[in-house]
Structure formats: structure tokens, C-alpha cells
């Protein structure tokens, strides 16, 4: 389809979609007029039953824990896809990169402070994810982002441990597999898959939520390492661009 035809079709299509949207929205309750029973129900029962004060994380890792396992594997599958697409084994070059330094010390200083701050906030978001706002997914992305900043303000050499697949791959397995193991442990103890096993602890304390805390850390590891693997694959392609195979033509 040529570009002109596509844009000519786009107008009516968007108008039609907009009309459908308007129709759908007209049937919704007004903003703020919440009617569904599930949200209210969860807000009532999750804290007394699971002792996690963050109901969103209680929902994510307990009430719909199996969905979250699927979600973790969506991310996992995407990383595998990206790796397969970008990794070019034939043209793999292990060239030692020359060390690149940022020009100004002030930029590096601010960057290093941001690495520390980002790591701290990331780990706090993970550790207290089921108590205060946060969680393994959000904290994991922030932690990986803070580590990537090390690449920006430092050198290839500083960042090298964080793109080493011999370290990252087992950790990714630990994160993704750990989630499943918690589920299977419940199965082995005679309950349903992913039944919350451990003691629930005191609401609002770090020792609360039972399995939720473990699942939270498993997904945090999986997400952090998944992001680092993504960065590593893109950096490898971007920093050491592979020559087009038919560069001569």
C-alpha cells in the first residue's frame, strides 16, 4: 500500500474509531463513580488476610499471582527474542574497546551521585514494595536504569561486569525460576499452586505477606537482569556496530 493511499484511508478510519470510542465511553459510569465489586472487596480483605499494606502488590503477587508469572515470562520471551535478533554469532568480535571518558568532571560527579541515589531508591522500592508504593517490577527497572547510568558516566570497563552474560544469564534464571519454585513449593506441600505459604507477619513490617515478599524479590531480580540483558544486547550492537554483510555493494 502506498503512503498516499494509507494516509487517505487513515482519516475515515480514525473518525470511525473515535466514534466507537465515544459510543463506548457513553456507556461507562462517569469518572469517579466506581461500581465494580472487586476493587472494594480487595481493599477490604487483602490487608487482614495477607498482611500486605500495599494492596496493589498483594493483588499482583497473591490474588493474581499466576498472571504475574505469565507476565514475567512475557518479558523473558521478549529478551530471548531481542537476543536472537541482535546476536550475530558469526560476526562476533571481542574487540577491547578503548576507554571513553566524559569531558567534564562535574557531569561525572552528578552522574555518580545519581547512580548511588538511583540504586538506593530502586532497592528501597523493591524491599518495601509490598508495604509502601513500589514493587519488584518498578524497583527492578529503576535499579537497572541506575546501573546503566554507570555506563553513561563511567567507561566501558566500569560497566563490563553488568553486561557479562555468564553472570546475567544464571541470575535471570534465578529470578524467573524462583517464582515458579515458590509456586511448586506450595504444590508440594499439598496446597494449590502459588498458595501463600509462609507466616503472614505484622502488617506494615518488612516481615509480612508470606510468599509475596519472596515472589517480589524473585520478580525484582528477573526484571533487573532482563533490563541489563536488553541494555547489553543493544549496547553490543550500538557500540560495536556490525558491518553490513554486503557493505561492498
Amino acid at each position: 500500500m502506498s503512503r498516499r493511499v494509507r494516509i487517505a484511508l487513515l482519516g475515515p478510519a480514525l473518525l470511525g474509531l473515535g466514534a466507537l470510542f465515544a459510543w463506548a465511553v457513553a456507556g461507562l459510569p462517569a469518572f469517579g463513580d466506581y461500581r465494580g465489586p472487586y476493587g472494594d472487596l480487595l481493599n477490604k480483605v487483602v490487608v487482614p488476610l495477607r498482611h500486605t499494606t500495599n494492596v496493589v502488590m498483594g493483588t499482583t503477587f497473591d490474588v493474581r499471582g499466576i498472571d504475574t508469572m505469565g507476565e514475567e515470562f512475557i518479558l523473558y520471551a521478549a529478551i530471548v527474542g531481542v537476543t536472537l535478533l541482535l546476536r550475530d554469532e558469526s560476526g562476533r568480535r571481542q574487540v577491547e574497546r578503548r576507554t571513553r571518558r566524559l569531558a567534564t568532571d562535574s557531569v561525572r560527579l552528578v552522574g555518580v551521585v545519581m547512580v548511588g541515589g538511583g540504586l538506593l531508591v530502586g532497592l528501597w522500592l523493591i524491599a518495601f514494595g509490598y508495604i509502601t508504593p513500589g514493587g519488584g517490577f518498578q524497583g527492578g527497572v529503576l535499579t537497572a536504569g541506575a546501573i546503566l547510568l554507570l555506563y553513561v558516566v563511567g567507561s566501558h570497563r566500569d560497566y563490563r561486569p553488568f553486561r557479562n552474560e555468564h553472570v546475567l544469564d544464571p541470575l535471570e534464571g534465578l529470578g524467573a525460576g524462583g517464582y515458579v519454585v515458590v509456586g511448586l513449593a506450595a504444590l508440594a506441600s499439598g496446597s494449590a499452586f502459588l498458595t501463600n505459604l509462609f507466616g503472614f507477619g505484622t502488617p506494615g513490617k518488612l516481615l509480612s505477606g508470606g510468599s509475596i515478599a519472596v515472589l517480589n524479590w524473585a520478580s525484582a531480580i528477573a526484571v533487573t537482569v532482563a533490563m541489563l540483558l536488553l541494555f547489553a544486547e543493544f549496547l553490543e550492537t550500538y557500540v560495536t556496530p556490525l558491518e553490513p554483510k554486503d557493505a561492498g555493494s
Binding site: 487513515l10 469518572f31 469517579g32 512475557i74 527474542g81 541482535l86 517490577f137
Partner: protein, 114 residues
Amino acid sequence: MSYLPYAVAAWICLVGIAGIATSRNLIHLAVCLTVTQSSSYVLLLSVGYVKHGVAPIFKGTKLGTPAVDPVVQALTLTDIVVSVAVVALILALALDAHRLSGKVDPDGLADVSG
């Protein structure tokens, strides 16, 4: 009594689709897809909003305070993860396409084979 957040979600979605259809750069296309997908975050969070409700986190808030729906918030989290996964794949494909053809315009890829 307002439908404004729903209208915002619809607008973000339509603008994103228009961007995808008219895009001349695969990276730009990936960003437009992210925009389209973020309309679903706005929609999900709007649907779960309770008037004067607090966040569904009961640390320092008394249990029983009207709070917004935690289900849609958890779904939004899933949504964001899927979005990240899809964007990563599209960017990887864009890099591959550029490596094979030297082009980033999706219209220019029609005559590339393999």
C-alpha cells in the same frame, strides 16, 4: 461527573495510531506505539478511580478509607511490562532492518528481501 479522562485516553490512542500510520522512521514508529499503548494506562486508571478515594496502600491510612481499585493498577503494571517487551522487540527489528538495508523508513523496506 466528568468524562474528560476517557476522552484523553481516546485522544492519546488516536494520535498514536495516526503517528504510526504516517511514520517515516522505525524508531519514531516505536515511540508512537508506546504513545498508543499509554492510552490504555490512562483508561484503566480512570475506570478504577473512586471519587475522593486514596491510593490502595494502607500504610498510615486507616483500613476502610475509600480507595481506588487496585485491580486496574495491577493490570496497568502488566500493561507497562508488555509495552516494554514489545518496544524492545521492535527496536531490535529496526536495528536489524537498518543493518540489512541501511534504511529506517518503513516504506523503504518493501523492496528488501530476506
